[in-house]
């Protein structure tokens, strides 16, 4: 993750958090009472990214001076955002390979509810990205002052990962939700 994506570090942390956070089925299917807590995982590739990102960031947080101080701030924000992603943003992405095969089944309804939540909370999610960007900007500045190339590369890669979320992953989740809803309504 290091040179390639700081956000991945974040994602790694997020992934770890994702494993822990239970997802309520009741949220996915409000009309149908379900087991109290059902976990929907996130794609393994994103899980690995999250874990790597968080690991990298935690290493940076042990460095002395401003870089370490700002990295510690970043860890908090990364974990929070990772938890959000793990809770309801990224799980629907696990359905993509099956959807790509043209298969839609009623037990996918949970993904519609998550997608709806992403749409409803899009601005709050964006605000989290903005806060992460802000701390990464601070990390870049501190890294340049400290001539810490690793920290700078991490921050720039993490910013790229955040853009990946905004440009691709979150819109994909919305499309997944709309697609499943449409197909289920059509009786698939």
């Amino acid at each position: 993750m290091h040179p390639r994506s700081p956000k991945r570090l974040a994602l790694l942390g997020f992934a770890a958090a994702a494993l822990i956070i239970p997802i309520s089925v009741a949220h996915a299917q409000p009309a149908t009472p379900a087991p109290a807590a059902v976990t929907h995982p996130i794609p393994q590739s994103l899980r690995n990214e999250h874990a790597e990102d968080l690991e990298q960031l935690e290493l940076l947080s042990k460095r002395p001076g401003k870089v370490g101080e700002i990295a510690r701030e970043a860890v908090v924000l990364f974990k929070r955002h990772a938890a959000t992603e793990a809770e309801f943003i990224m799980p629907p992405l696990t359905l993509l390979p099956v959807l790509a095969d043209g298969k839609v089944t009623p037990d996918m309804a949970w993904a519609v509810a998550m997608s709806d939540r992403v749409r409803a909370e899009r601005e709050q999610i964006f605000q989290q990205h903005a806060e992460v960007t802000e701390v990464l900007n601070k990390l870049v500045e501190a890294a340049e002052t400290a001539k810490d190339q690793d920290a700078k590369e991490f921050a720039e890669a993490a910013a790229g990962d955040a853009m990946n979320d905004v440009e691709i992953l979150e819109p994909a989740v919305l499309v997944i939700g709309d697609y499943i809803r449409m197909k289920l309504a059509a009786g698939h």
Binding site: F126, L136, A159
Partner: protein, 127 residues
Amino acid sequence: MSERILRTAITVLLLTSAVPTLAFAAGDAAAGQSVFKSTCTMCHSNQAGQNKIGPSLFGVVGRKTGSEPDYTYSPANKAANLTWDEATLDKYLESPRTVVPGTKMTYGGQKDAEKRANLIAYLATLK
């Protein structure tokens, strides 16, 4: 005569109300370069044609939204149909999603008007 006085008063009022706009020109480009470095360079280059996560900001002042070659803009930015003059940049930099709802720039905005003015003064030198 009274009409002349009235016109003068109106002129003074108009000039006074224009002061905030004129403040852009009073920005300190050197200080703005520092703002650019601390808040923009992670995603934006100041070099012509060097697009990073965000588009190059070389020549941004006076440019139309969504017009930097070889950069993939958000649909919102492409459709905004704005010109990045000082006044528009000032509003955008204060709150990007207010001016261009749906922009993908994950920047919360610079709330300090002086820093914005300085940054805009620096951006104006990039040409």
